[in-house]
Symmetry: C2
Subunit: 324 residues, 2 copies
């Protein structure tokens, strides 16, 4: 099998971990949003890549959704002695990742190469691909503060400002990597993880050639809802949908993706929307999509893999885990 998933941070990373269990890490490629990347003190920080990488390496801090489990913040205390109190805290372990990434890129490596090296060193067999080696930067146009760089909106203002629209600086000039396009072209299953459709998946889809690759893909394309019972499991997805005049329902998400997906996975708490989503011409899977632990991740992804298999003429054998 050759499963390709598009992912943002926490929700996508959990789903990726489930997929690695369900189909085996070697059969899996995760294409990760990099539009949330930024620099702090010259360090190149890639929050979604790091969350996916740490999650697949078993190092993620599951309580916070970012950073390394058990990390400390001694550097932050020392920065405070210098009178510097950044609103973005980098853990002492986490900083090692950024130092190595920054240094490798200073020496000429691109983000794809750096991500490969770092993942391999952490014994991750899943292929993690940044969506692009170019610079794309999410900007959030807010009612209260005007246009904010994503991390200011997300971390500094704790996603409380009212979102008017979301912009992706540089997206017109950015290209998806060769590896990203090739992965989509050769996939036999493509999954949009339960990540924020507007913040995390949209930048990947906005890269020149990605939507064409999806339209042309022979593989079934499945989207998994990030909205359960009108709310996001984590983060601002539901809040920002409301603010942008979109009802935060799985139906809205399905409509958003409908033109290029074949199947949609919604939560059993939202079963009422199944018929409306079927009416969009999509296959539908209704199940428990809330991933509380690693077993939940495995069970959900296993069902999704079998659901994808069900949507194609010739079966590939599906999930290798026992069904729940």
């Amino acid at each position: 099998m050759n499963v390709v998933a598009l992912s943002g941070g926490v929700g996508g990373a959990k789903f990726a971990d489930g997929l690695a269990q369900s189909v085996g890490p070697e059969a899996l490629t995760i294409i990760v949003n990099t539009a949330d990347d930024f620099q702090l003190y010259g360090l190149r920080i890639s929050p979604d890549l790091d969350t996916v990488m740490y999650t697949l390496a078993g190092l993620a801090n599951v309580d916070t959704g970012w950073g390394v489990s058990g990390d400390t913040f001694e550097n932050f205390g020392m920065l405070a002695k210098y009178g510097v109190q950044p609103w973005f805290r980098v853990g002492d372990r986490d900083v090692a990742t950024h130092l190595l990434r920054t240094e490798m890129m200073r020496l000429g490596a691109n983000l794809t190469e750096v991500t490969q090296v770092l993942s391999q060193r952490l014994n991750i067999d899943t292929r993690i691909l940044p969506m692009t080696n170019d610079i794309v930067r999410t900007m959030v146009d807010t009612a209260e503060f005007g246009v904010l760089p994503f991390q200011e909106y997300f971390v500094k203002h704790k996603w409380q400002p009212t979102v008017k629209r979301i912009l992706f600086d540089g997206i017109e000039k950015a290209n998806p990597t060769f590896e990203t396009l090739r992965a989509l072209e050769t996939a036999d299953t493509i999954i949009l993880c339960p990540s924020n459709p507007y913040l995390s998946v949209e930048p990947v889809l906005g890269l020149s050639g990605v939507k064409d690759a999806l339209f042309n893909a022979a593989a079934p394309i499945i989207a998994v809802t990030p909205i359960i019972g009108g709310e996001a499991v984590k983060g601002p997805a539901a809040k920002m949908m409301r603010e942008m005049g979109v009802e935060p329902t799985p139906l809205s998400v399905a409509q958003h993706y409908a033109e290029f997906i074949n199947g949609f996975v919604l939560d059993e708490r939202d079963a009422e929307y199944a018929d409306a989503i079927r009416a969009l011409g999509l296959g539908v899977l209704v199940t428990n999509t809330w991933m509380r632990d690693r077993n939940d991740r495995a069970a959900l992804t296993c069902e999704v893999i079998n659901f994808a298999d069900h949507l194609r003429p010739e079966k590939l054998g599906g999930c290798r885990l026992p069904q729940r």
Copy 2:
């Protein structure tokens, strides 16, 4: 008063702390060796500046002689997960200093400006000046490994290789800063701290114009021995002197500096050399030069300040601390 001291790392930093007590921090300027500076993962690390700064801020790790007291090394453990085991360990608190310095320099500040900002933020009233804003790099020519960058000789090989000679890459093209030359010209007392004459003081003296400034200085110039009883208090000074065919005695150090100093301070354990040093035409102070604690630092520097006052025609009032 206007006291200017030339310093390397640990020994110089302790002496500087004593001087700050003896004459008041506002009356003191420390000119610090930067030839040991290097880059690690793109971070600009200035070991001697940091040791002086941390010591004067009361943050220094007195056990190791480098880094911040109570620091942790979580970043090092994480680097190890990536298969990277640098022989130079940067503490988690210490890294904050390097991040800020690196970022300020990336934005165009020079090392003098950065050092001023960092010192002020740590509430240091003593003026700390890097000897130059240019790049000078100490290289140690060893019998076993050929020419090594200083930190490889000093940290990686724990100063065990046999030293043949010491080179200062870039010294011909480097200039002392305006602030450094001006400090020497306007000083009323100049002190060579008990730092390694060949590694730490030599690069300062080697900068174009520094020796001329010393020859022309109206101020008495005093050197304090880094050698006690044939050994260095800390570090490779005595070992490398033997290896380069120089007897590790205060007399050798006095001879090394004789052409431009007026007075020499040696330890009471080496009193036998006092006459030979006097015979060089130097004033001599024999006292306890071993600084075990902050009181020792204050007592020694107080004596040295009064000794310097004794060497000039018009007295300036000397040390403000009670004599021991």
